[in-house]
């Protein structure tokens, strides 16, 4: 495996993803991530000079909507997606900045 993921990197990625990993899981994740990066490195074998980075597969531009209200009050349906509901709002673990 050409890409070696350090302990610091896996720790950092864990923080960004809000994941707490056990030591065992960290080892496994390091191995998985290393092999993913090895796979991606295959792209480096191609000469991509002068090729625009692609962000979309289809050659479609300018898809717009008019500024017209089309949605009504769907609160009840939307709140069914909430982990918990209180006073018409999504209740989540206490969070502050």
């Amino acid at each position: 495996m050409a890409n070696i993921i350090s302990d610091e990197t896996i720790e950092y990625v864990g923080i960004l993803a809000k994941l707490e990993l056990t030591d065992e899981e960290k080892e496994r994740a390091k191995k998985d991530m290393g092999s993913m990066l090895d796979y991606i490195d295959k792209l480096g074998e191609l000469d991509t000079r002068g090729v625009e980075p692609m962000s979309h597969v289809f050659p479609v531009n300018n898809v717009f909507r008019e500024d017209v209200v089309t949605n009504g009050d769907e609160r009840e349906a939307i709140l069914k997606n909430a982990p918990e509901e209180k006073n018409g709002m999504f209740a989540v673990p206490r969070t502050f900045e």
Binding site: S55, H56, V69, R75, F90, R94
Partner: protein, 476 residues
Amino acid sequence: MEKQYETVIGLEVHVELATKTKIFCGCSTAFGGEPNTHTCPVCTGMPGSLPVLNKRVLEYAVAVGLATNCEITKYCKFDRKNYFYPDNPQNYQISQLYLPICRNGNVEIETENGKKLVGIHEIHMEEDAGKLIHDEWDDCSLVDYNRSGVPLIEIVSEPDMRSAQEVIAYLEKLRMTIQYLGASDCKLQEGSMRADVNLSVREAGAEAFGTRTEMKNLNSFKAIARAIEGERERQIDLLESGHKVIQETRRWDDAKGESYAMRSKEDAQDYRYFPDPDLVPVVLDNAFLDEIRRKQPEFREDKMARYKREFDLPDYDIDIITAAKRMADLFEATVALGAQPKKVSNWLMVETLRLLKEKEMDPEDIRFSPEHLAKLISLADSKAVNSTVAKEVFEEMFENDIDPEKYVEEKGLKTVNDESALRRAVEKVIADNPQSVTDYRGGKEKAIGFLVGQTMKAMKGKADPGMVNQLLKELL
């Protein structure tokens, strides 16, 4: 000798656009709805939902860019800014990093030190987040996603400002320009315009910038000015005592007049931006830009020159009326109905401003129509009502947009022009007040004032004081 420091300030200004619907879905942006009643799968980040750009958002963003001398990016895209926070249901905010809609602009500001250009680094389109409320009882946070997906533009200036005064001038210029475009009402208190201040200090004459901090939670021009003074002092004190300024985000507490470092979200700066695959690129051609250019309104400078030319108003009047788009629109519409410009200007500058101030309202909140103002002016002109009554009617109009003609009719406020009725009232006042009559006849000119007052009272205010005066003199 004491060291001299220069303050270097750049601004990030968020402006909420005046669209009817959100940036990527057909939910209403109306203010004050019950929590989560303006939500759908798109703005609550449900898997499989597909955002589609509101065309109006693009038009407003381009219009603001053109008005601030920006280059418009003809091939522009949206990116995802990744972070975890419950007000952001997708776990990313759709914004623009690589190809923002506008770049390299500037606006001219004027302070007592003269005119100056402030550069605009870029303007990008993005979505607002939901609102978090902390529940003290259940030890949880509650989220209302009505604001989630409300369209914003973020205007990022160059670090070109050097004082609070320049910052305020810059913000006022932006606000006025955007209000003239109708792209937003730009109310700081209500959060439809929000400014974050990036500030650093450096020794006068130094080339390199100092370390900057970012200040958030600034809800008024006064708070911004105080925060700038406070942060400048804080940074200079740090440097003078041999410490370093730490690059961080700080929150201004205007009540205490001090700021504190916001607990940094762990590694929050790593947003891992990447192009949003759900939104296709926006490709603009010259025809689109020309159409927006054609629709740009007459901005303040041009309006001021025209008012001078067309209406011959004093500079003072022009300055006040054109300072708010709503005032200028009212003025023009009322004049178009045939009212005399200076008279319209007087009603706007004196009574309207007085009531706005008294009721702590913005010109945008004015409810009365130009038709009603024109009618009131014509009632006063024809002496159908006297000036005291006109002011009362105006207050009623300001409050409830009543039709002044109908109101005067219904309440019987018309000045009594019937000379015989007035003559009878005057005769009665003369008969009832022999002392004042004697005083007046004895040479006390002032006594007539009392008699005029008594007559006006007897007429319930509905007389022309000039006419009363004349009749009194005649009968005495």
